[in-house]
């Protein structure tokens, strides 16, 4: 066979995986990414609206940091998003694709709201607030755990696909919530549950550090530390890692995969339920089928980006909340269309996540005209 002789050509770009990267380089890459993002965002803002990009960025910053109240509001949202991320971490680490946090949180919300309504002022029961809070806590944790363990039971027993199963459980929870709203509707005709125990505040979480959301933040911080320790330093955490890496290795090591599935999903669901408790008792004091507001899905991103390190999850959750608040602040302050302001925060997020690629890989470009002839 005759071979075509070809001109020697080199590909333009080559990627190679970095082994280790010096810390300063990693920081430089990330800083450069943020700068580039702000620059691109600025060009975008100026070209579509003619506004001064700096003032737009200022109002974005103010969205979270202008007042103490705004800061606590952002902290509360961070706490709830983080909490759901914490719940998902053990499941995903076990490679159990729990897409059902939305439903698990919502079911926890429903359980908690039920306790508040039937133990509160509306039916004249008026239990002490502390008792109601305790009962809400138990009910929401049990409800979340129940919603989480059902798919695990089916997977352990019949090897059902947990991705589909947990996803579909979300819709069941949403339908149940819609039904509950119609039963608990108050005042009649409002098509909503209204603020539960609005007069007596029975079951509302008390203030902490003089803040309405103090307890929400405290619970999330506690869980963050506990889950970190649980995953890293306990036998359960070790088993989760082994099962997640290879079921064959787990069998070889004598680990009961069934048991680990069930136990971990009980915990994952329970923490989701706890997030529901934080939403209903600590924040919204009402319930609807949209009360979780897709945070069950956003939290999946939080968990994976942080590679299940709960402390990094806190940073990512805060970033997402900051960008979200910033976008709506821009929209009101600068009369920038909401879509445009979301594009600005989208650009920033894209660059921050995208730069991790350059932290992991080295890119070398060879330009033919720069090469010496040999």
């Amino acid at each position: 066979m005759e071979h075509k002789s070809k001109a020697v050509r080199e590909p333009l770009i080559r990627l190679s995986r970095r082994d280790v990267i010096p810390l300063y380089q990693a920081i430089l890459i990330r800083a450069a990414a943020i700068l580039l993002a702000l620059l691109l965002g600025a060009i975008f803002i100026y070209s579509i609206s003619g506004l001064n990009p700096l003032s737009v960025y200022q109002s974005m910053f103010e969205g979270t940091f202008k007042t103490t109240r705004r800061m606590w509001d952002a902290l509360k949202d961070t706490a709830i998003l983080l909490m759901i991320g914490i719940a998902l971490a053990p499941a995903f680490k076990m490679r159990f694709w729990n897409i059902g946090a939305e439903g698990q949180v919502l079911f926890g919300c429903l359980a908690s709201a039920a306790v508040m309504i039937y133990g509160g002022e509306r039916f004249g029961v008026n239990l002490p607030s502390g008792v109601v809070i305790l009962l809400c806590l138990i009910a929401s944790v049990v409800a979340g755990a129940l919603w989480g363990v059902i798919p695990a039971l089916f997977k352990a027993k019949w090897k059902t696909n947990e991705t589909l199963f947990t996803l579909m459980m979300n819709y069941i929870a949403i339908q149940l919530a819609a039904y509950a709203v119609s039963v608990w509707e108050y005042p009649y005709g409002s098509n909503s549950v209204g603020v539960i125990n609005s007069g007596s505040h029975i079951g509302w979480l008390p203030t902490l550090f003089g803040q309405n959301y103090g307890f929400d933040v405290l619970i999330a911080v506690l869980c963050m530390v506990l889950m970190y320790v649980y995953l890293r330093y306990t036998k359960h955490g070790y088993e989760i890692s082994v099962v997640g890496e290879s079921e064959n290795t787990a069998r070889y090591a004598g680990i009961s995969i069934r048991k680990v599935f069930l136990r971990t999903m009980l915990i994952s669901g329970a923490v989701c339920g706890l997030a529901g408790f934080m939403i209903v008792n600590g924040t919204s004091h009402t319930v609807s089928s949209a009360v979780v507001d897709n945070r069950g899905f956003t939290a999946i991103i939080v968990a994976w980006l942080a590679k299940f390190n709960t402390f990094i999850m806190a940073a990512i959750a805060f970033l997402l909340v900051f960008l979200d608040k910033g976008a709506s602040q821009i929209a009101t302050d600068c009369q920038l269309n909401t879509h445009a302001s979301e594009i600005v925060s989208g650009i920033i997020l894209f660059f921050i996540i995208g730069c991790e690629f350059f932290v992991q890989y080295k890119v070398s470009v060879s330009l033919p005209f720069l090469k010496k002839k040999n």
Binding site: M1, P11, S241, V242, S246, N248, Y252, G254, S256
Partner: protein, 515 residues
């Protein structure tokens, strides 16, 4: 002298901080079989992958037939007439042999299947292949699949062939047939490179031996001047004892009794049929058989990982005057709770024996993390063990917390064997313990197994290299189609005898109970 088929000049390749190849300069000639020899991680496969377009050299030039070449993709390699047969076959199971051969080639106008088939038949005739073009890949034996892979490469017009460990999965008879084909190709003027760890094959088949050590080219020796001793020394860089010892078993006593072991696969086919044998302390029982004829299921049945049919019996006899314990139906953890220490080095090292993403420390505690009563894991003891194993077995790793997946094959196996031996087993089962390992590491493993044997451990060694099985084992059990076909004395059995029992099932009445 004619132009060499391939000239490598000053080729270097690094992955991060790891240097895979450093300034390699060598040539590959037409009408010659070249063996490429080197320890694990010495850069053999990386070097050949640069020829086949998988990697691109960082430095250096490749000349093909005297012309400078730039190979950026496997497609380019084909253009230059280079074809590589990888260790792991790349075939479509559901397609026939013919479909796999023509897969991915552009269809020419007016192309007819008959013409292509004629071309394939021509190649078969030239080199002495046998191939059934209508057979589906999933019906093929390993050897047939390999023939098909070679055919694929030849059909694309390759005249420079690279074979990565082609004999690792073949029986002696199949290896002989492959070598016959390779000799025919050499006679036809093709350039052939064969990567292998088996020295006797290197000496049998090749004309020259190129040796790599730690990524560097050590030199090329004409095979006629080579001996196993010389090759090993150049490869390792120091003197190596190439003798497998076989001390006499010291006061062997019955340790495991297997009777009427039956296993049925999830598709309802019998995998093990009425398997009965005994295992003694202080001896190495070799298990031979073509790949996939029940070895895995046999070991896993003993380890409590495999579901067995009713009537199967595995009984453990402890040393001294303890009572015998039936093991069938017990899980690995239940067996351990009874105080029975079964060690098992499974075939799939990173998929079963170890957790690839964890470091040595976490892997050391895989089987006994549960022993202390605390809710928390104790990493102090495993860490000490990891450091000890690292030193004792000379494991090359950046640290005891580096994920074991990043280590080379030989080091991964040392981690696994080191852990299994550390638990002071009374039975040690190993499946293909030296597969893919270089000669130096292999001998380390043989030595470790002999050490265990002398300590009174009952060692079961499932192997594929018959020379090693015959040199190491006290007794050899030959499996054929999931049945015990023969139990031979390792000191008197011959390679031909074992090879025959591996492929031809003796129909006999009654049971052979080994021993």
């Amino acid at each position: 002298m004619t132009t060499p088929a391939v000239q490598l000049e000053n080729i270097s390749k690094r992955f991060g901080s790891v240097i895979a190849n450093a300034h390699v300069t060598m040539d590959i000639r037409h009408g010659e079989i070249l063996s490429l020899l080197g320890e694990n991680g010495s850069g053999k496969t990386t070097l050949m992958n640069m020829l086949s377009g998988v990697y691109h050299p960082d430095e250096g030039t490749i000349l093909i037939n005297g012309e400078k070449a730039s190979i950026n993709a496997p497609k380019d390699a084909y253009q230059y007439g280079i074809g590589m047969v990888h260790q792991h076959f790349k075939l479509v199971d559901l397609f026939t042999a013919y479909e796999n051969i023509v897969l991915g080639l552009p269809v020419k106008k007016g192309e007819r299947k008959e013409q292509n088939e004629e071309k394939i038949r021509q190649i078969c005739e030239n080199y002495g292949f046998e191939i059934d073009l209508e057979k589906k890949v999933y019906d093929m034996t390993v050897s047939e699949k390999q023939t098909l892979e070679i055919m694929k490469v030849l059909y694309r017009g390759a005249d420079i062939l690279i074979l990565d460990e082609p004999t690792a999965v073949l029986t002696p008879q199949e290896t002989d047939r492959l070598f016959e084909v390779l000799r025919n190709m050499r006679a036809d003027g093709k350039a052939i490179v064969i990567i292998t760890h088996k020295l006797h094959e290197v000496l049998e088949i090749s004309d020259r031996v190129a040796i790599l050590r730690k990524g560097e080219f050590v030199g090329c020796i004409p095979t006629a001047e080579a001996t196993p001793q010389i090759l090993t020394e150049r490869m390792v860089g120091k003197k190596v004892e190439l003798q497998i010892e076989r001390p006499l078993p010291q006061s062997p006593e019955l340790r495991l009794r297997v009777r009427h072991l039956n296993v049925i696969s999830e598709y309802g086919l019998p995998v093990l049929h009425d398997v009965s044998f005994d295992v003694y302390s202080g001896e190495i029982l070799g298990i031979a058989g073509i790949s996939g004829c029940g070895q895995k299921e046999l070991l896993e049945s003993i380890a409590g990982l495999q579901k067995t049919e009713t009537g199967s019996e595995v009984t453990f006899f402890p040393a001294g005057n303890g009572t015998d314990t039936p093991l069938i139906g017990l899980s690995p953890r239940q067996i351990k709770k009874l105080g029975i220490s079964l060690s098992f080095v499974p075939e799939d090292r990173l998929g079963m024996g170890l957790v690839g993403s964890m470091g040595m420390v976490d892997n050391m505690m895989l089987k006994n993390y549960d022993e202390c009563s605390s809710f928390f894991t104790n990493r102090r003891t495993p860490r000490e063990l990891a450091e000890k194993v690292m030193i004792d077995l000379d494991i090359v790793t950046p640290g005891v917390f580096t994920p074991v997946r990043r280590l080379s094959g030989g080091n991964v196996q040392k981690v696994l064997v080191g852990r299994e031996i550390a638990s002071a087993p009374s039975v040690l089962m190993t499946a293909y313990a030296v597969r893919g390992l270089d000669i130096n590491t292999s001998y380390t493993i043989y030595h470790l197994l002999n050490e265990q044997k002398m300590k009174g451990v009952a060692v079961i060694y499932v192997g594929e290299d018959l020379d090693v099985l015959l040199a190491l084992s006290d007794r050899i059990l030959v499996l054929c189609e999931g049945q015990v076909n023969a139990v031979l004395d390792g000191r008197t059995a011959t390679k031909e005898q074992v090879g025959l029992y591996m492929t031809h099932l003796e129909r006999k009445d009654g049971n052979s109970h080994g021993a």
